[in-house]
Structure formats: C-alpha cells, structure tokens
Symmetry: C2
Subunit: 204 residues, 2 copies
Amino acid sequence: MAKQLREPEEALYPAPVVLVTCIDEKGRSNIITLAWVGIICSEPPMIGISIRPSRYSNSLIKESKEFVVNIPTVDLLRKVDYCGTVSGKTVDKFKEAGFTPESAAKVRSSLIKECPVNIECKLKQQLTLGVHDLFLGEVVAIHTTEEILNEEGKIDYAKAKPLVFNQGEYWNLGKKLENYGFSQGRIKEIPFKSELIGEDQVVA
Amino acid sequence: MAKQLREPEEALYPAPVVLVTCIDEKGRSNIITLAWVGIICSEPPMIGISIRPSRYSNSLIKESKEFVVNIPTVDLLRKVDYCGTVSGKTVDKFKEAGFTPESAAKVRSSLIKECPVNIECKLKQQLTLGVHDLFLGEVVAIHTTEEILNEEGKIDYAKAKPLVFNQGEYWNLGKKLENYGFSQGRIKEIPFKSELIGEDQVVA
C-alpha cells in the first residue's frame, strides 16, 4: 500500500509519561507532566527533558539547575493528567493532586512518594531549540520502591505499570516479548544496567 | 514501603524502539536500532537520538548531516533486534535483515518500506555528552502507510503496534486509556498534531 507524505511534525511514538518536580526560590516544589523526555547518554547517565519557556517549571529549572523525573504508574493517570493541565503559577499541585512530597538525596526538589521510581538530576546544559527548551540533566541518584522489584532486585514492569504516550493518547504497557539480543541467541539475561541498543553490542 | 536508594544509571522507562537509517559516502544506507530517542521540540519539530561514537552510524550521520527515524511494528521484532546487534561496517543490514529500501522525499538516506512511519530529519546540532553523542534533527518530511490510519487520517496505535523498550526488554503496547486533558473534561478529541503535555495547555 502506498505511503502518504505528510508535513513535518513531532511524529515519534511511543513516549514516556513522567512527572518532573522542581523547586522555587522559596523552597516549594512544583510538578509538571511531560512526555518529551528521553535518555540521552548512558555514562554519565543523562536524561533530556523539553519544556516551553512559558511554563512555570521552565524558569524554576533554569534558576535551581536541578529537577527530578518521577515515573508514575497507570493508577495515577487522573493525577498525572491534572498536573499537565494546570499551572504551578497559581496551583499547589502536590496539594491539589494529592501527592506526597518526599526528601531527595542529592537535590532540593521533592520526590513524589506515590511514584515507584524517582530519578534525581542536576542540570548540565540547556538549549533553546524553538518553542521548547531542551534541558540536559545528569542522573545523580535514583529511588525505587521495593514493591516493583523482582527477586533479583530488577524492575518488574508488569508491577511498575508505566504510562505510554502516543500523540495525545495515554496507553498502558502490554506484555513482555523478548530480551534485547534474543535474535543472536547469545544473551540469556539482560543486566539491570542495560544499554542503548546499538550496533556491535552483542556480537563485539 | 521504604524506597531503595540506587546508584545513578539511565533508569528512565519506557522508551521507543526505532530503526534509524543513514547514508555513507558511496550512497549505501545503513540501519541502527535505537532506544535513546525522543521528541525534543514541537515547533520546529525536532527529534534527539543518541549514538556511541564507536558505532558506524555515528560517523555517517556526522558526515551526511541527516537521518531517518523509521518506526517498526512488533511483527518486525526479530529484524529490529538483529539490526541492533550487528555492525554496518561489515554487514549490509537492508539485505541481511530483509528490509526494502524506499526513496525519501528530502534526504538521501533510504526509508524502510516495512515500517509504517518514516520521519526524515536533517541534523541541526550534535553534542558530545559522554559515551553517547546526542544528535538533534529537525523533521523535514513524514511518510505513513494508510494501513495504520483511522477514518480521520490519524494513526491508530492498535494498528501501528509499536515496540516499547524497558531497560533491555522489548514489550508491546497495551490498550488506550484516555486522551490528554480528560481530567479537565474540556478536550473531547486530540488534534493529530498533539502537543507536549505541559502546564496551562488545556486551561489557558
């Protein structure tokens, strides 16, 4: 079947759905829901997040030079959506959404207790690209609830139940199909600290 | 339940799984499987992809200043994994994986015919972060097969069946839960060109 040629847009899918927390000058933490988020480097571990300059969190991250990536479960969907539709300029989202702040280990922003994984990041670089600024953060600490771990201490994604974002639609995860490297039959188990999928990795 | 504090690593999930094509100086297209990929800007639409300097595709993109993000379906999983475990330095991956090259509209690299969505990008910037280089590409053209579109011309993700990557594990998509903005009850339908989930967006 023939393909349609379309105008440029941000057509990539799927994307993660995360709650990013950051802190204002008075020490109050804010929450912003983001999907334009991804891993950008394995060593040092780094995460990129894109936020429009008009968003309250944008200025907070520029000033505080830190943020936390909190990964929600599908059970939190209504709160996640709420935090993506109101502004921290006028609303205390921790209070209104009913999230519980927890102290971080290496940054000042609060973690969200209800999220099973919290990734503390320090801002290394920021880029103005267009309607979004790209913030490059280095991971400095990670917190995980034991409830989502298997016996080997690795995350069981059937328990972690992340949200998946497809251009305006929230989806859940289906089932596990295979481990990376299965086509070569050389990897029986993936280490917890898994890698970018890349050329050479399994066979080299 | 208490949380465990862990050492820094690239702990974000889920991630997309894509096949990036790029071209060498002789006009031959290569394929690399990537998961460290994400939308970084809506206007102009931009995608960030991270690749280790040792990978063959890294040097090709640096020289050609372009790449194509091809989004596979779960049915292509074995080929996707294969293209992430051998090097284009020694293997013609189009031939060995059995993928069909298609001409792009605005770049020289081949599209992968079997992928229902192909996103052509021109390199705008590259950053050396650590073990990965981050390439920032601007989307210049998109191709979609009609087979994955609904009656309104929007992508039906139940038909597009993307792969989801969770730290070394390939998963499939589950089911659609809600549209962005549902918690406010103000958006009945999401436009095809959906946005970053951000503060203010629905209520402002």
